[in-house]
Amino acid sequence: MRKLFLLGFMAVLSFGMIQINASYAADGDKVIYHVNLGNEQATDALRNIQNHLAVDPQAKIVVVTHSAGVDFLLQGAEDKNGNPYEGTVEKLAAKGVEFRVCKITLERRHIDPKKVIPEAKLVPSGVVEVTKLQQQGYAYLKP
């Protein structure tokens, strides 16, 4: 009789666990792309991200930028061949990629926040953001 009690208990528990796991599987891998060195690294990162999404369209990608890494997210930014970054960033943002810019960097480098393109979101601190996302289970990638 006690076994029946335990069986009922375990059934409900496993059902709950399956539901929780199922929801994680459906959401896909979570990963940070950390960009802080400049436009060359940014170009590499954007290419990496496009490849990543081609293989795993469900991946949740957050690009966290600070120091020299914010430059490609400013209005009018171009790569070394003169191609504007904004078009590529727009396309990726439409696929769910997030771009975050460090406010401390903007203050330190005297960059007007209004110069940041609308696809990017401001965060209080880039490195704190990277830390927080890892605490939330995001993997870390440095292109």
């Binding site: 029946l4 009922g8 059934a11 601190s125 990277v130």
Partner: protein
């Protein structure tokens, strides 16, 4: 039964049940003294009343516990318990992802007792502007957690070209490193032994570390160990 029935059955039943007034009882007692038949009748009535009382006594209390429950009841209890546990577990899961701390003294006190946020900064580039940037980022993070009254445990692991940050006579930021070590108790600078050995082999130089710098066997192994221990990793 006596032929001349002075008292009705109802009256005698009331007598046996102690429901008569004092005068009425005295009447009966007076007759009982002389009337044998009445005596026998009252005796029979008392016996009958005792038997009825015995038959209608409180039944014994059933034993407590699951053994006495039916199968259906137990399954129901099990499901209810499981459901309660699941609700608690899920609620706990969501509540665990807590929002930013409220700046009250109570929140501060709670934050003080929480496990510190653990972050490993990896420095492998020795160019001076890169080292300066790295120190800026480390300090920015320490100040952020200090402002929000959260404890932070931060390790700066230097390997490869990044080791120059921690070498006496070579580091462009020896004074800043010393100041940061004093300012932030949760901060340690760590040098990679593998890199130290490689410099000795390739350049013939026996490096001297800045004061207070710790040493681990291998920078990359330390990075892997710390991540396994739940530390966040940032390559600056």
């Amino acid at each position: 039964m006596n032929t001349e029935q002075k008292f009705s059955d109802e009256f005698l039943n009331a007598f046996v049940d102690d429901q008569l007034s004092l005068e009425e009882r005295q009447q009966v007692y007076a007759c009982l003294a002389t009337d044998d038949a009445l005596n026998r009748q009252v005796c029979e009535l008392r016996k009958m009343h005792s038997l009825v009382k015995l038959a209608y006594e409180q039944p014994p209390v059933p034993p407590h516990g699951l053994k006495s429950l039916s199968t259906g009841r137990k399954l129901g209890l099990g499901l209810a318990a499981g459901l309660a546990l699941m609700i608690g577990g899920v609620a706990g899961w969501f509540l665990h992802q807590s929002p930013a701390p409220v700046p009250t003294t109570v929140a501060q006190a709670i934050a003080e007792t929480r496990d510190p946020t653990k972050v490993l900064f990896h420095v492998s580039d020795g160019r001076p502007e890169h080292l300066r940037n790295a120190l800026d980022e480390v300090e920015g993070l320490m100040q952020h957690y200090r402002k929000s009254h959260e404890k932070a445990r931060v390790e700066v692991v230097a390997n490869g070209d990044g080791l120059s940050l921690l070498l006496a006579g070579i580091s462009p930021y020896a004074e800043r490193v010393r100041r940061m070590q004093q300012e932030y108790p949760g901060l340690t600078f760590v040098a990679c032994q593998n890199t130290i050995d490689r410099i000795r082999q390739e350049v013939g130089l026996d490096v001297k570390l800045l004061p207070g710098v710790e040493v681990i066997d291998s920078g990359v192994a330390q990075i892997m160990r710390r991540q396994q221990e739940g530390w966040a990793y940032i390559q600056v």
